[in-house]
Structures are given as structure tokens and as C-alpha cells.
């Protein structure tokens, strides 16, 4: 029958799981001995403070280079960016749980409810959840996606325009639509107004200032955007409305889980490469340079896109947030991501090269 001390020793030993295996092999008996010496009689479980301390120092120990003051910063940068990318990937997968895009019947019903008195014109259905230049993304389009056009990969929407010339002034259309939206259960956001140069007729002489008003509303998993121009566009389709889906509920938990998993993997892989190259490694310097290049290529789009998107979010109402990958500057900067991934793989390949001599893994060699 195991004694109290045996049980406690086993629990302490389990808490050393964050330390690298070679370190555990060399030091676990000694550290567990100290923990048992320090534990008061009768203790059967490690205290939360002890557990947190062992896990924290175990994670640091995985990085090797015990005298380094910066390795923790590099590991954190690596783990966070890996976590962000895997979270973005997980959220993209979770978007597939979204309800199908509104079909013609649903769009027509919403149009009739929101814009009574207007005749429904053309309806452009959404061919996929996310589209690239309004088309489903295909392998053949990947080169365009990589070479600068990645920003065109966006959430798609169903667009419906009114047929013929508008039957009432723009402000009346807006007021009526707001009232009808509220009556039919939509949450209506404050309209945004932009003034842009435009045309009052097909000859476009003279150029006039067009006041373009966008009204956003949300009901359930559907987002509605109503566009009303004054004077109305000579090309017709005014007013027009677009319907799209909100972020599915599965996206948040998928993102959190994917992020934690990616960050943990990033930390472990960084730690492995760091320990392998901490001394007497032929590619020690090259690995450091490649890591810096990788992090620069991966972090730069994030640092540029996230503040820009945050300003955009604060400037306009958003019934649903932009997808996570857009906050990371992807796939607009997917070329940088791919080159960074190649650099990361090269870093790991160099780290895997044989060392010049065996590396001591503990203070006691």
C-alpha cells in the first residue's frame, strides 16, 4: 500500500511534466527529494503555489539557455504568433458551421418587408461563404491570392437591387426602411453617410455629389445592409440591400482551442530548437537569424493590419466582427506568411542537424 509520502512524491513527479524529458531524467529524483524535504508532515497534495511554480519553471526550462534573458521573449513571440495563426485556421474551419447563405426566396421576403413599394430587381446570390473576386476560391486562383490580391478574399453576401427608378425620395426610403426593420424584429444600427462624386444621368454631365447612406441591421444570424443613394444611381438597382451571415457560435470556442493548441506547439517546438542549438551546433547563428526573419515576416502584417482594422471597427457600426485572419493581415499578406513558413521550416531543418558534441542537459553533467 503506498504511503502518504509515495503519493505526494508521485504527484510532485507528475508536475515535472513541463520540464524536458532529458532534464527530468537527470534531475527529477533530486528535485522531488527537495520538494518532499520542504513539505510539512501530513501533506498529500502539492499546493497550488508549488504547482504553478514548477509548471512555470518547467516551461522556461524547455527553452534551454538558462543564462539567457531574451530567450523567453523570443519564445513568447513565437508561441503567440503560432497561436494566432492556428486560431485563425480553426475559426475558418468553424465558419463552415454557418447557416447557408440566404437564397432567392429569403432575400425576396426580406426585400418586400423592408422596402414596401419597391419592385425587386436583380438578385446576385452568394456562390460560397467566402469568395475571391466574387467567385469561390480555387487552386488556380492561389497565385493571384498570394501575389497581392489576397485582400479580395472576403465574406460573400447576397445582393438585391430595386428595379426601375426609385418611387420615393431617399430620405423617405430610409425612414420607411428603418421603421419596417424595427417592426419586423431587426436590430437597427445608426446609418453611416458618405458623400462621393457621382453621376445623375447616363452621360454623367455634370458630375454631382452623391450622398450614399448605408443602414445596417441584424436579426438572428443574418446581417442586412441597405444602400440608398441621393440622387439615385442612373444604372438602377437603387436602393439595394445585401444579406450575409453573422459569425457562427462555434467560431469563438474553435478559435480559443486552436489558439491554445498552436501556442503550446509553438512553445514546444521553439524549446526543442533552442535546446538543440544552445551550444556546439554548426547552425547556431543561422538558426537565430532565420528565426528573426520568420518572426518579422509573420508579425509585420499583424502589427499593420490589427490597428487599422480596430480603427475601422470603431469608426463604423459592425453587427459582426471581421474574421480573425483579417486582423492578422491574411490572406492579404499571404506571401509573407508563406515565405515565413518556409523560413521556419528551414530553421527547424538546420536545428535538426547533428551537434558537434553531446550537450549537457543539467547543472550536473
Amino acid at each position: 500500500m503506498p504511503t502518504t509520502g509515495d503519493r505526494l512524491a508521485r504527484r510532485y513527479r507528475r508536475l515535472l511534466f513541463c520540464h524536458p524529458r532529458a532534464y527530468r531524467r537527470a534531475r527529477a529524483d533530486e528535485i522531488v527529494g527537495v520538494l518532499l524535504d520542504a513539505a510539512p508532515a501530513g501533506r498529500t497534495r502539492p499546493t497550488p503555489r508549488e504547482a504553478a511554480n514548477l509548471i512555470r519553471h518547467g516551461l522556461r526550462c524547455r527553452l534551454g539557455r538558462p543564462a539567457s534573458r531574451t530567450v523567453g521573449v523570443w519564445a513568447t513571440l513565437t508561441a503567440v504568433i503560432c497561436g494566432l495563426f492556428t486560431a485563425a485556421l480553426a475559426t475558418r474551419a468553424a465558419w463552415e458551421t454557418s447557416a447557408p447563405q440566404p437564397d432567392r426566396a429569403e432575400t425576396a421576403a426580406v426585400f418586400a418587408a423592408v422596402l414596401p413599394g419597391h419592385e425587386l430587381g436583380d438578385v446576385d446570390l452568394a456562390p460560397a461563404l467566402f469568395t475571391f473576386y466574387s467567385q469561390p476560391l480555387t487552386v488556380r486562383a492561389l497565385d493571384n491570392l498570394l501575389l497581392g490580391d489576397g485582400g479580395e478574399y472576403q465574406q460573400s453576401a447576397v445582393v438585391a437591387g430595386a428595379a426601375g427608378t426609385p418611387r420615393m425620395p431617399a430620405d423617405e426610403t430610409l425612414a420607411l426602411a428603418q421603421r419596417r426593420l424595427r417592426e419586423t424584429g431587426w436590430q437597427v444600427y445608426a446609418p453611416t453617410v458618405h458623400s462621393v462624386p457621382g453621376c445623375a444621368d447616363k452621360t454623367c454631365t455634370p458630375v454631382v455629389t452623391v450622398t450614399d447612406t448605408t443602414l445596417l441591421a441584424r436579426r438572428g444570424d443574418t446581417v442586412l445592409q441597405l444602400h440608398v443613394a441621393a440622387p439615385p444611381s442612373p444604372d438602377g438597382d437603387d436602393p439595394s440591400l445585401t444579406l450575409s451571415r453573422t459569425t457562427p457560435p462555434a467560431v469563438l470556442p474553435a478559435g480559443v482551442a486552436g489558439g491554445l493548441l498552436g501556442a503550446a506547439l509553438g512553445w514546444l517546438v521553439f524549446g526543442w530548437a533552442s535546446r538543440r542549438t544552445e551550444a556546439a551546433h554548426p547552425a547556431r547563428a543561422a538558426v537565430g537569424v532565420l528565426l528573426a526573419i520568420t518572426l518579422a515576416l509573420w508579425w509585420t502584417p499583424v502589427l499593420l493590419a490589427a490597428p487599422h482594422l480596430l480603427r475601422h471597427h470603431r469608426a463604423e457600426p459592425h453587427p459582426t466582427w471581421h474574421p480573425l485572419w483579417e486582423w492578422l493581415g491574411q490572406p492579404a499578406a499571404s506571401l509573407l506568411f508563406v515565405v515565413g513558413a518556409a523560413s521556419a521550416l528551414l530553421t527547424l531543418a538546420l536545428a535538426a542537424a547533428p551537434r558537434r558534441s553531446p550537450l549537457p542537459t543539467a547543472a550536473v553533467g
Binding site: V34, P66, G365
Partner: protein, 106 residues
């Protein structure tokens, strides 16, 4: 140099000690203010070993528990000496300012 590092080096200045011995000595030296947790102690020992300031000395097994002793290296003695001089200079400067501030209590 951080206080726990200084205290570990000071604990080892009295002679080689094992992990639990260092913890107890640090508690005594700091008048119970600092109690090192084993995770913190071994992270510090790994760092000090990598810096060449401490070295493993010997091993023994007591009641089935492995005890590994550590000692100061000549570099460790030098680092402790330099840090002690730095702290003494700071303490002396602070004391002289305090005496000037409270002449009656000097």
C-alpha cells in the same frame, strides 16, 4: 543581481549545500522574508551553473532521497564579492543621507 540570486550565492559561501539546505539557509539569511520554492531554486541554480558561478559538488542519498550538493566557483566568489561591495556602497550612501536628514538620531 536579484535578491534571490544574491541569497543563494551567500548561502553557498558558507560551504557546499544541497537544494533543501540552500532553501533553509536563504530563509534564515533573509530573516524569513524569502522562502524559495524548489522550481525557482533550480531555475536559479541552472542559470548560475551556465554562468559558471556555481558547480555541483557531490551527491548522497538520505532516507532514499537523492541530495546533490552545490558549491561556489571562483567566479561565483568574485561575483558575490562584487555584489556585496556594490550593496555596501549603496547602504553606506543611504545611511549617510539618513544621518544628515535626522542628525539627532545619528
Amino acid at each position: 543581481m536579484r535578491e534571490p540570486t544574491f541569497l543563494i550565492l551567500t548561502a553557498l559561501a558558507g560551504g557546499p549545500r544541497h537544494g533543501y539546505g540552500i532553501i533553509r539557509e536563504v530563509t534564515t539569511l533573509s530573516a524569513q522574508r524569502v522562502t524559495l520554492l524548489p522550481g525557482t531554486l533550480y531555475a536559479a541554480l541552472d542559470r548560475l551553473h551556465a554562468q559558471g558561478l556555481v558547480a555541483p559538488d557531490r551527491e548522497e542519498t538520505v532516507d532514499g532521497r537523492l541530495r546533490r550538493y552545490y558549491r561556489l566557483t571562483p567566479d561565483g566568489i568574485g561575483a558575490l564579492d562584487a555584489e556585496t561591495a556594490r550593496l555596501r556602497q549603496l547602504a553606506t550612501a543611504a545611511e549617510s543621507r539618513l544621518r544628515a536628514l535626522r542628525p539627532g538620531t545619528a
